[in-house]
Amino acid sequence: MQYACLIYDPVDSPPPSPEEKQQVFGEYMKFSEDVQKAGVIRGGAPLQPTDTATTVRVRKGERLTTDGPFAETKEWLAGFYLLECNNLDEALAWAAKIPGAKYGSIEVRPLLDIPGM
């Protein structure tokens, strides 16, 4: 079964120093390597902060574009991993190892499996 591990970082945390940035980057590199070696990774990507976001809606055939994210929240989606695991416990064990789990939250969601899609 595939699980999306959605990485949420707190919005109001102070900006990291260059050293901290380097350290977090290193931790993510290490985690990505580990899931690669274990053969469980199916995808994933880091995302730019929400101030780079643009939101699009189509209503009555008309396109509406607004600046900013869909919703202002205290935590923002900073990236995700797509992992292939046997069950939720395995997925949770990997999620706990994602560096962001230490200061933000990881939401683990099973992918909806639609045959033919």
Partner: protein, 423 residues
Amino acid sequence: MEASRSGRSWTFPACEIGDAAIEESFRRDAGRAIASLSRALRDLDRAEDAVQEAYLLALERWPRDGVPAQPSAWIYATARNRAIDRIRREQRGAEKHETLARLEAIGEASSNDDGAIPDDRLSLIFACCHPSLNLDARVALTLRSLCGLTTEEIADAFLVPHATMAQRLVRAKRKIRDAAIPFAVPEGSGLPERLDDVCTVIYLIFNQGYASTSGAQIVRDDLCLEAIRLARTLAALAPREPEVLALLALVLLAHARHKARADALGGIISLEVQNRSLWDRDAISEGLQLLQRAASYGRDGQFLLQAALAAEHARAADWASTDWRRIVALYDGLLGLAPSAVTALNRAAALAMVDGPEAGLTAVERAGQDGELDEYYPYHASRGELLRRLGRTYEAAASFRAALALSKNEAQQRFFEDKIATL
């Protein structure tokens, strides 16, 4: 007799018919069969359906052909065959192949050998008490899957509408299936935490029966007995886990007082004035032995300390000769593990027995200083009692009136009315 869609109520059919052999088998075997099948099916709903169908068939066959030599093996094999039939009809491709392989792998229980039935109840308990389910759902699922209570019985015990409870169970079972919550005993470092979750659910079930002040008496006693049965199963399956042993000790020691706890009107009689000759001495001695075993591991846990508290009361000849100093120390231990205003209040009440009402009152008021106990009648009752002993009659009356207003039980209300009248 096609299995209906998930979510419909699942009442044991023999309840109406009263076939003793089937009912006995249901109590003894259903949980085990559901546990084993849900593990292979990875779907609690389908497992329940298969076991229910087996019992419906038993209802038809057993009165006609006689009770099989090994009823549990008969139920298990029949339910497994029903599950296989259904998977053949409903699943496709790789999924179907894998599910059938797992059903094959759990083996066909020989109809002559009850020992061949695997005991997967521990796996099922861990699935039902998984931390990804909300606490209410964990309690309900456990009662339903492992204890065989009906949706209606669980709803009545927790004072929620039947439809709400049915919804809660459907959602929880769906989540187990869709998020692939494993039917397995957790391995490695995660085990103690998950065992703790299971113990908490069993303790909540017990407490709902023990402490509730409304609802039918029968249902409440049933919940206590189910919790004891679950704790026993857990202790048999995990005999070297001190917190599990302590949990069983705790529920046995607490339940040992049940005959002395209720008055003729079903009101709760407080420990102080209980007739201790009504306590169940066998349950107490079993509880004390279990506690000793649990304590031999030398690790303090929440249930170990709570069981030790219950044991102090169980050992004491009466209220006055209770070892209150030791009780204060045990509450200190509990507060160290998990600070709570209610625990602090209980400690304060014990402290009053050691150091007198003045010290007790100071501690009681400190426990309630954050306002957390404002709506908790035992806080006002303790405060009132200590004020009374200090001769501060006017304040004592105000506290007893607050306790009276907050208590929902008639016997307790009478108790506080008497207190106020005799000040």
